[in-house]
Symmetry: C2
Subunit: 309 residues, 2 copies
């Protein structure tokens, strides 16, 4: 599991940062990429990575401001042009379907794959399968905006096949029963407890990716115990009033959320063009007394999210 | 007058060429920029030029395929964000207004300037003022598509002020009468013929910028005697059948149009990603026996369009 930042700027593209898009790379976990927001020229940024558009399985839109969605029609078209056939689902606030459908209609674009929309109206679980659960909550932005919490299910412990083989227990239905944690009596009377043959379960990872927002309670809920929190930092530590007026956050507010939510790491993005070079990194340094595992990300940064321990 | 190519590729962006947009720079002529098509990331390309979005006065869209319009909402938003106040007019096929308005509505974008649409239904003059006339004609593409002919009005000759001053004729109403070509009798009885005091008139320049198209008669009409013809060349000389099937042109067909229309120069654009490096330049070399003043343009090429003679 990796997070690749395709665009880390706020509002308009600059030479240093493109507008927002974040790729959650789940290649080992499900041979898929999930995108969070698709600002203009996201497909251009993808040309600079190893991401193949056909692998994009789901797209989660936080809100409908242009710098978060104007790259969507082009990306969808190119995914089709490059022969993507697998279905794609787009989650986002009401209006996202209208925007995409009008764009595809006027341009007479016929996609080579089924496109599904899930328009969000409230918080809660929006996707769940064998390996992942995704939930969303409303944030506090000028326009309806959601944050996402991506929870990987715990990996059950592996069956200790080597140990069973050393004991000359041949593979067969017994292995399955032991893996399920059952107690089994063999033909020779030996009693085996499944728990003795199962390794440690591995905690699934949790990533929270929030949209543009003022500091608010739902951010804590989404980020609770997350390995990684991706949070906007449109403003610097001392600019709380500006942040409030423009419905955004300061780096200090993001750090407070990270601390309260007890996350592993805080990644600051949605960086204003007012902060370039050293000034951008300052956004993180300023708040390390509040939450030390904080860093500002740049376009094309790839952040690994390893298993704990 | 200069033509700056912001995107010269076909269909999807590549690392070498962005999708279509062409800037006609009329800074000396009217302190304005006119854009022809706005593919995705046109505003990103503009960041690499000296063009200021607030100077964009008119946008002409040839057709609504995604690679020609998906950059429009982002460009309009950034022009506003950067404080553009001057009105902007968009000309294009039916549907362009719907696309732009839905994009601005769902993203809750309020522009800082008046935006006007002129949807085209047929060929003819679509704009005329003191200095320029623009007309359009339908082309032959899979979707409704227009080409544009931009005609600069002839510059009348300048009044030879120095010559009048040498003759000790004081400035006043007489100067205006002479400039208008009239014959004037001075108080001392001297008779002056205005034509003796007016310099050579300067022919206005003509540029034809066509959208995606098969070879067709309207292209000749639009390009007739133009100083510069900008024509697509999605396919190479020998691929006439492919070009026909995909509603595009070969470089040879573009050259034939240029020759028949008696243009000054032919600029080939809308180059497929199948042609990179030398292979792209071959598109022009192949057809120099038909029309010698042919060249393939690249992203960010600036072509000067000087007065004749
Ligand atoms: Zn926003
Ligand atoms: Zn086209």
């Amino acid at each position: 599991m990796q997070i690749e930042f395709l665009g880390t700027g706020a509002g308009s593209p600059s030479k240093q940062r493109n507008v927002t898009s974040i790729a959650l790379k789940l290649l080992e976990e499900r041979n898929a990429i999930w995108l969070f927001d698709v600002g203009e020229a996201t497909q251009h940024q993808i040309l600079r990575t190893t991401i193949r558009p056909r692998k994009i399985e789901k797209i989660f839109i936080t809100h409908l401001h242009g710098d978060h969605i104007f790259g969507l029609p082009g990306l969808l078209s190119s995914r089709s042009f490059q022969g993507g056939n697998e279905p794609l689902t787009i989650y986002g606030p009401r209006g996202i379907e209208d925007f995409v459908k009008v764009s595809l209609r006027v341009s007479e674009t016929k996609l080579s794959y089924p496109l599904k929309f899930v328009e969000l109206t409230d918080g809660g679980v929006i996707f769940k399968d064998k390996t992942f659960t995704v939930s969303c909550e409303k944030l506090d932005h000028k326009i309806e905006c959601f944050g996402y919490r991506i929870v990987e299910h715990d990996h059950p412990g592996e069956l200790k096949v080597e140990k069973l083989k050393e004991m000359n227990i041949p593979s067969g239905p017994v292995y399955g029963q032991l893996k399920a944690g059952k107690t089994v009596t063999l033909e020779d009377g030996t009693i085996l407890d499944g728990h003795d043959f199962i390794g440690m379960p591995q905690k699934g990872r949790i990533v929270a990716i929030l949209g543009d927002t003022r500091k608010n309670g739902n951010s804590i809920k989404l980020a609770h115990n997350a390995d990684v929190l991706v949070h906007e930092s449109t403003f610097a530590k001392g600019e709380g009033r500006m942040a409030r007026n423009y419905y955004h956050s300061t780096s200090a507010q993001a750090a407070q959320i990270a601390k309260t939510a007890n996350v592993g790491r805080l990644l600051l993005t949605h960086i204003s063009a007012r902060y370039t070079g050293r000034a951008a990194y300052e956004l993180a340094y300023q708040v390390r007394d509040v939450f030390s595992a904080t860093r500002v990300v740049n376009d094309l940064d790839v952040i690994d999210v390893p298993f704990k321990g």
